[in-house]
């Protein structure tokens, strides 16, 4: 699971029936140097590309979330669903300690 900062949302009036009940979030990945401070203060925009993630755990703008990309994103759905990225966790704390070598 990668770590991202919710920077926006997407609304769609026409979408696959299976997506009902969730929301779509615009995610910007969090850079290594921002990992320790990103919960308390908004991290700077990363140069890594932003992406859209499906969310049904209740994340909103400003949250730091964990998301999974790839075929695993379809696993929570009962039927085959065209989806490539899904949120998994809203982080309360994140601790990064750079290796000393």
């Amino acid at each position: 699971m990668r770590i991202g900062h919710v920077i926006g949302k997407v609304t769609m009036s026409i979408q696959e029936e299976a997506f009902r009940g969730g929301r779509w979030l615009v995610i910007n990945p969090v850079d290594t140097e921002d990992l320790n401070s990103c919960i308390e203060q908004q991290p700077k925009l990363s140069t890594q590309s932003s992406l859209i993630v499906y969310d049904n755990i209740g994340a909103g703008e400003g949250d730091i979330i964990g998301f999974v990309e790839g075929a695993e994103a379809t696993a929570p759905f009962d039927d085959p669903t065209p989806i490539d990225a899904i949120s998994l966790a809203i982080f309360d704390t994140l601790k990064y300690v750079a290796p000393a070598n």
Partner: protein, 84 residues
């Protein structure tokens, strides 16, 4: 399988139910010179890996679903072993 080093941890209250009871560790991939490279990511841990220990991380979703005993879990990364 990725050769990684544990560089931190993460705590989340709101999460997918399949993550309940699993420790989430921040892992960073190591390059050929054993130096950390790339952005850290989260893997679930079953073995009690400690800070800065070197580990193998599997990116196999099928294996991860078996480990959490939930075939509807989107988890992908899990620590497969601690390197001596």
């Amino acid at each position: 399988m990725l050769h990684c080093q544990v560089v931190g941890n993460a705590v989340a209250t709101a999460k997918h139910h399949s993550l309940d009871g699993f420790k989430m560790l921040l892992c960073q991939q190591l390059d050929a010179e054993q130096q950390p490279s790339g952005t850290p990511f989260i893997a679930i841990d079953l073995f009690g890996a400690g800070m800065h220990q070197k580990v193998f991380v599997s990116t196999d979703g099928i294996g991860a679903r078996d480990i959490v005993h939930d075939q509807h879990s989107p988890i992908r990364m899990f620590i497969q072993g601690i390197i001596d």
